[in-house]
Amino acid sequence: MMANRILLLASLDVQTWTYIIVGFTFTIYIGIAIWTRAASTKDFYVAGGGVSPLANGMATAADWMSAASFISMAGIISFAGYDGAVYLMGWTGGYVLLALLLAPYLRKFGKFTVPDFIGDRYYSNTARFVGVICALLVSFTYVAGQMRGVGLVFSRFLEVDINTGVMIGMFIVLFYAVLGGMKGITYTQVAQYCVLIFAFMVPAIFISIQMTGNPIPQLGFGDTLADGSGTYLLDKLDGLSTDLGFAEYTEGSKSMTDVFAITLALMVGTAGLPHVIVRFFTVKRVRDARKSAGLALLLIAILYTTAPAVSVFARTNLIETVSNKPYDNMPEWFKKWELTGLITFTDKNEDGNIQYLADKEKNELVVDNDIMVLANPEIARLPNWVIALVAAGSLAAALSTAAGLLLVISASVSHDLIKKMINPNISEQGELIAARLSAIVAVGIAAYFGIHPPGFVAATVALAFGLAAASFFPAIILGIFYKRMNKEGAIAGMIVGISSMIFYMLKFKFGWFDGGTKDDWWFGISPEGFGTVAMILNFVVSIVIMKFTPAPPEDVQQIVENIRIPSGAGEATHH
């Protein structure tokens, strides 16, 4: 009987497994949503303010790790080698800034949104409005990228149309974000963290054992090969890469200045992202905010230290599977990914073999970054249930981030625009309805972007970080650490910071203002790294303007003194 059952499970195909695992996880998410409905605006914006540090840490980790972290990052590193470190350090190092410079003070301040802090600290609705615009820009560009991830997974693994995939994903998010607000999102994110980390680690551990005999991927990719040759895996990959004309894997090819600038822009951008900051409004006390930032980074680091190992395994496996091998002998996964257009092969010298080379003239194979993680279990011939698990994990990563972003969008509209600027007399019930309606509209817009992905999505994800780095980060830091900073300085700084960032992106990414190539970059810094320059500009402009304008009023200086002291945080409140 038992043996029969095992035989049955082993014989299920990938698609059936995917339906089972994805269906199971979606049922959990919906169940949690029904169980955690939001009854007040405080539930809706900050989950009632009583979330435990561990739950908030898990929710922050899921919120933070998007389709980009789960699906794309290991793939990008696979092709970039050492240069991939900009994402690894940039997307984790920001948490140190967040924990030490922002989270505890913003929690003490105790409001609902990031524009709330900007508006109150700089005693100005103009500042608040600039904050709302930045929050909306950052969040919409981000959410569009998540939808592409959802569509990709549905179309490849469930073999439904991409548009249907996007609609299913959107319906699920709509259900728990609108019903549960921050409260529903928080507890579904806790579940989604568990799903996504399990789904990322299982194949990584399998492959690490396969290739090096070491069950810990973080150590495995620095270990010797399991074939008994005594060669280190990284040395072998360096050799394979140079043989095919690529840069040595452990060296990379970007300039040091650019690596420096991109890393800093991503770190500072991370610390300035509204959907991450707002998570720290949900815990009870200042000390909980500090602790949960630490837990969040610990939980994120599990994936981020595994990803570079996955990159090395996947890259080595890919080269060994395809390089100089006959096209007709390619395994099934190769043909399936060809159908999605993410692998393309053109037999330029017509010898029937695949030439995979750095030289663009002779190279015959193009592999999209995004499939490395998704295809990795298949490339390594892991069991079908593992492949299905990866599909469920990518959906968890994309949906959790999308939900967090949608909440920022709806809170910016219902709380900062309607309640604080347009109609201050709106009732609690009215505001809650407005919040739910704006969430629905935001989901609609996000779905539109998912179905008609604008060509600039990939380019604008970097813009989201640059924008956050160039706008929120300096304004918040100065607001906490520089009592004399006034509204004139902060507003001027934010506007100059954002505008220079947008200008640089338009010029070098989209060819506006006469465009320009790599050789025209200022100081050799790419648009991805320009957030660093724009942030410095913001700081300089803020401080210079502040010197020539009046100091902030006494009561605002009092607020600053007060947020520096951790006790008496109270609960996040309206006023």
Partner: protein, 85 residues
């Protein structure tokens, strides 16, 4: 709570921030980027050391830094009587 108490608390807090952020900078921008070529001469098993700091080591240090900060601040809160509700 007196004003001078708050000032002294803030000054100690800034001192911690300065030290912890200096370490943060040295492991990531120093070991992982600026001095990676020199560190790559040293090997840690199969890893070149600069590469290891850039893709592994710096992340471990980041996690440790936050937990050290949490401990230091909890102690500091107690010392200055800010640990109540």
């Amino acid at each position: 709570m007196s004003k001078s108490n708050a000032k002294a608390y803030w000054r100690e807090n800034l001192k911690y921030l300065f030290i912890l952020l200096a370490i943060w900078f040295v492991v990531s921008y120093g070991a992982g980027i600026l001095f990676k070529d020199a560190l790559n001469e040293i090997r840690l098993g199969g890893f070149k050391l600069g590469f290891w700091f850039a893709q592994q080591g710096s992340i471990y240090v980041f996690v440790i830094l936050i937990f050290v900060y949490v401990r230091l601040m909890n102690k500091l809160d107690k010392k200055y009587g800010y640990d109540g509700e």
